[in-house]
């Protein structure tokens, strides 16, 4: 944890810097370790998506099982803005964020009075509705074929612009946006809003009796997480050079839940990052040996849930974190810490 009284520490912490060091240098070493540039890009897109998702799942205790719809909407919105509006990177990304956020608002109004299993079921239903609309509204989404030929738009700074046609360059754009997202989300979850969201997870009723309008907090958390999904969707559209309906499948909504949980999103801010990295590495490494890699990944998930419900972040905390931390926090907590504060 950072020094709370240090104004820089309010925004940037050691783990954030460490993540910048790892992801910021990725294009230089990813091939040396036998992987490839596009994998880094995929990881970055999904890390952004999953970090935003964990605002709901880990912090708010709001299990959305339809979140794949929102990364899909972001991808379509990016493509539509590019084709029919202005092919400017910033404007198209902004369109992806805003349009996804508006869809998130509509969903939030429906789900924010619910919790637990009812919340989950409603998000599934809403995800399916968006999927259905996207598959039928062919004039906008291209239906089964998808939106093809979405451009990797140059990063326009007015006086000059940077071409990001090649994957490593696009990766750096994604990394820069990751940096912004991670700093803002970290600040957010430690703000009054974030702490109240965590209180809602622990005891919604109590929060209400303290005078907070729980509905508004849940709705805003939902909308924010869909806006982050929209940003990830815009990047994804550029990565794939297209936007396709598959991403809105129920399966992908489940995948982001899986990634977040396996990484330890319930106990750590960094859970989603661990989870996404593990997922893609498992896909490529296990996938090279067997078609049924997802089965093995699922098995790994089950073992983790049974023996280490705090996920990878929990394992990290117990091993590396225990060595790094100076304070005598080595005294084992009598129960697994379930608050994703760090």
């Amino acid at each position: 944890m950072s020094d709370a009284r240090n104004p820089v520490g309010r925004w940037i912490t050691l783990p954030i810097l460490a993540s910048f060091a790892v992801f910021g240098t990725l294009p230089y070493w990813v091939e040396a370790v036998g992987l490839y540039q596009y994998l880094g890009l995929e990881i970055m897109v999904w890390v952004i998506f999953a970090l935003g998702y964990n605002l709901l799942l880990g912090y708010g205790g709001l299990p959305s099982f339809g979140h794949g719809a929102f990364i899909g909407i972001g991808a379509y919105a990016f493509g539509v803005a590019q084709f029919h509006f202005i092919p400017n990177l910033w404007i198209c990304l902004l369109a992806a964020i805003i349009i996804t956020g508006l869809c998130g608002l509509a969903a939030a109004l429906l789900v924010s009075r619910r919790r637990g299993i009812y919340f989950a079921l409603m998000t599934i239903a809403i995800g399916q509705v968006f999927f259905f609309i996207a598959s039928k509204w062919t004039s906008v989404t291209g239906g089964e074929d998808g939106l093809l030929n979405i451009q990797r738009l140059p990063v326009d700074f007015g006086l000059f612009s940077i071409d990001i046609q090649d994957t490593a360059s696009l990766y750096y754009l994604a990394f820069a946006l990751y940096a912004v997202v991670v700093v803002l989300l970290w600040r957010l979850v430690h703000s009054p809003f974030g702490r109240i969201l965590g209180a809602i997870r622990q005891n919604e009723e109590r929060v209400r009796f303290l005078g907070y309008n729980v509905f508004i907090y849940k709705a805003i958390a939902f909308i924010l997480s869909t806006m982050v999904a929209g940003l990830a969707g815009g990047l994804f559209a550029m990565a794939q050079e297209g936007a396709y309906i598959q991403i809105m499948n129920l399966q992908w909504s489940g995948t982001v839940v899986l990634m977040t949980l396996i990484g330890g999103g319930l106990v750590s801010f960094w859970g989603p990052v661990f989870g996404v990295v593990l997922y893609f590495i498992a896909r490529d490494i296990l996938g090279a040996y067997t078609e049924a890699w997802l089965l093995w990944f699922g098995l790994m998930f089950m073992l983790l849930v049974m023996f280490k419900p705090e996920g990878l972040a929990g394992i990290w905390r117990d091993t590396v974190g225990g060595l790094v931390r100076r304070k005598p926090a080595a005294a084992p907590s009598p129960h697994p810490n379930q608050s994703p504060a760090e």
Binding site: A4, R5, R10, R187, L188, H190, S191, P192, F193, G194, R195, I196, G198, A199, Q202, N203, E205, R206, V207, R208, F209, L210, G211, Y212, N213, V214, Y217, I220, P334, H335, N337, Q338, S339
Partner: protein, 247 residues
């Protein structure tokens, strides 16, 4: 006019009538006790007054304003705080954070997304002050779930106090406590009652008769007796409830 008045409140769950024509009035800066057997409807009464349930009939007036049927958060913002019979803390948060989130000034900034509470000395000091008041000085950084049962009971009251209420509802604040811990809760209540209107549901009659200005007995969802502790000594139900030894 009393600070809070409830007129002819009815509440039923399905076909079970739980509150039947309850009328109550709580005068400002008084300590009001509510007693009665298990299942009498005491907690339901609190739940109706604090907005958890809407009354089926009847009026609830707080400081001249009709608050019947308002949602809990709106009622809370008017200065009505409560504790719960079954404890209701944020278990994964520290003691001080439980208090902090209840402070009205934090509530007012609840939508702030970039602000940092841990660096805010003013709210921190205020929350620490409340912890000290309820006897939890030194426990600031202990997670609520790691506190002892008695400490959790005290924190439950502290959270309600932190909201700086005008009226405070305490639902069996000594439930499950031994004599010593009950004594310190009684001391705490004696200390906070000076500038606060308090309503306490309590089983421990000695506790209640020692503190209350006025006591209401609820049975079968109705008010069956009401008065000062002294006048209630003569009440049939109170007598039967083995209070005899107290006089």
């Amino acid at each position: 006019m009393a600070l809070l008045e409830a007129h002819h409140i009815h509440k039923r769950f399905g076909d079970q009538v739980v509150l039947e024509n309850i009328t109550l009035a709580f005068e400002e800066n008084r300590l009001n006790g509510i007693m009665g057997p298990n299942g009498a409807g005491k907690t339901t009464c609190f739940n109706v007054l604090t907005g958890r349930y809407k009354p089926d009939r009847g009026r609830i007036v707080f400081d001249g304003e009709d608050i019947g049927g308002l949602p809990p958060h709106k009622i809370a913002r008017k200065g009505i705080a409560r504790s719960f019979q079954l404890m209701n803390l944020f278990d994964q948060y520290t003691a001080i954070e439980n208090i902090t989130l209840a402070l009205p000034e934090v509530r007012a900034r609840g939508m702030s997304m970039m602000h940092d509470l841990s660096t805010d000395g003013e709210t921190g000091d205020k929350a620490a002050g409340i912890l000290a008041r309820i006897g939890l000085a030194g426990k600031e950084r202990v997670e609520a779930r790691d506190l002892s049962y008695g400490e959790r009971r005290a924190l439950e009251i502290g959270v309600a106090l932190a909201a700086a209420p005008r009226i405070l509802f305490l639902d069996e604040p000594t439930a499950g406590l031994g004599a010593e811990a009950t004594g310190s809760i009684a001391e705490l209540i004696a200390e906070i009652r000076r500038d606060l209107t308090i309503v306490i549901i309590e089983h421990d009659m000695q506790f209640l008769f020692g503190l209350a200005d006025k006591i209401t007995v609820i049975h079968w969802g109705q008010v069956i007796a009401e008065g000062t502790p002294a006048s209630l000594q003569e009440d049939e139900w109170v007598k039967r409830s083995s209070l005899g030894g107290l006089a």
